[in-house]
Symmetry: C2
Subunit: 233 residues, 2 copies
């Protein structure tokens, strides 16, 4: 494998390369090895759904998606958000349970793994394991939010999670980011009703912690948000 400088620098702009680089220093060869294992970007519209167990591993290239589990009476719980650069199917998460679905929350582009076994080199393996561990950690945070935090705390914590994750891939500014989520989605993630989500957001605005304008979310007081989010994590 002998990647050209152009190929590498193009790849470096891809969010999954950026995100994996957080967990291990990837050589140009690592990057091109990775790129070679995944197909062309394919696009899907918001609302597109896929049984998580049925798919090959993939990276999300752009857009927001989630993993969700539906109850038989229509209630739905969002298990995790997928942001650009996030992978699905590398760890066991998605395979471990039927009835976990991937749902596109916006228009998305993704790159599926090509058929055939993928045996990553040591650095790449470390990066993939790191990303999987990070996802596990977020799932744990989610349990804590749902089990032991108030609506206000949950929302503060989730907003900070989004901000941190988007900063990692340079899709957020120091003070804010685009959050293309309906309040209904926030409700299904945080285990609250749509109406209550609305009121909690108002409260955060009234307290001067955030500003929302359309899909633009501005964090006015990160320190106060962290205090509210607690988890002392």
């Amino acid at each position: 494998v002998k990647p050209s400088a152009t190929q590498v620098s193009n790849a470096a702009r891809e969010p999954h390369v950026r995100r994996l680089s957080l967990f291990a220093t990837l050589s140009p060869e690592d990057v091109s090895e990775l790129q070679a294992r995944f197909g062309r970007a394919e696009a899907h519209k918001a609302g597109w759904t896929l049984g998580a167990a049925e798919t090959r591993p993939f990276f999300l290239v752009s857009g927001w998606a989630c993993l969700a589990h539906g109850l038989s009476d229509g209630r739905r719980q969002i298990l995790a958000f997928l942001l650009p650069g996030d992978g699905v199917g590398f760890d066991l998460l998605s395979r471990s349970r039927k009835s976990v679905e991937v749902i596109a929350l916006t228009e998305i582009k993704l790159r599926q793994a090509l058929p055939g076994a993928f045996v990553p080199g040591p650095r790449l393996a470390r990066a993939l394991a790191g990303a999987a561990a990070a996802q596990q950690g977020r799932l744990i945070d989610h349990v804590v939010r749902l089990g032991r935090q108030t609506a206000y705390e949950r929302m503060a914590h989730l907003l900070l999670e989004f901000h941190d994750r988007l900063l990692d891939i340079a899709e957020a500014s120091e003070t804010g980011f685009e959050m293309p989520l309906k309040q209904e989605v926030l409700a299904d993630a945080l285990g609250l009703s749509l109406v209550h989500i609305n009121r909690i957001l108002q409260q955060l605005r009234r307290d001067g912690l955030v500003i929302t304008r359309g899909k633009k979310m501005t964090l006015l007081n990160r320190a106060a948000l962290m205090l509210a989010a607690d988890q002392n994590a």
Copy 2:
């Protein structure tokens, strides 16, 4: 490696061997390879606590324990229960987050991995991966419980989880099992208050779904419990 028949049949009685056998058919060599990698059983009293990130991988041999995360104001969320035969530290779960603790809920015995790298054979690797996936699946169930189920549903679902897991290692009868948990622990697991746990248990008894006598939990109507637990999982 040439294990004696006695060694193997003794090992087969150990709960972690039993549990791993659910995920792959282990040869006698696999079993003795596994046994050789873990030290003697060490005992700890209820209440014993350990930072999950600090420990070597281990198997719980007997007793009940849990993984928990504490908030700064004293609130606590139990992330997962550890039953005899369960492992900690093989997947990323425990390592991924500081401030996740292992807590012994009863007297426990555990066997830590011996120092040095552990490179399991293919069947053993499959079994370990299967066990890790099962644990992930339970974590997902937990998220759904906490996010989208009522107290009654959560309790029903958790009782069924206990029953199924204990049946796997032959520590439950068809209709019941020993549940050595204080109501406070159930509260921290299910995201409810101690008082409410008490009332929910009464309700389950009143509805004829369970009987509790001391630590003995009897499931009178598994079908009805499953209906209540939903998750249609």
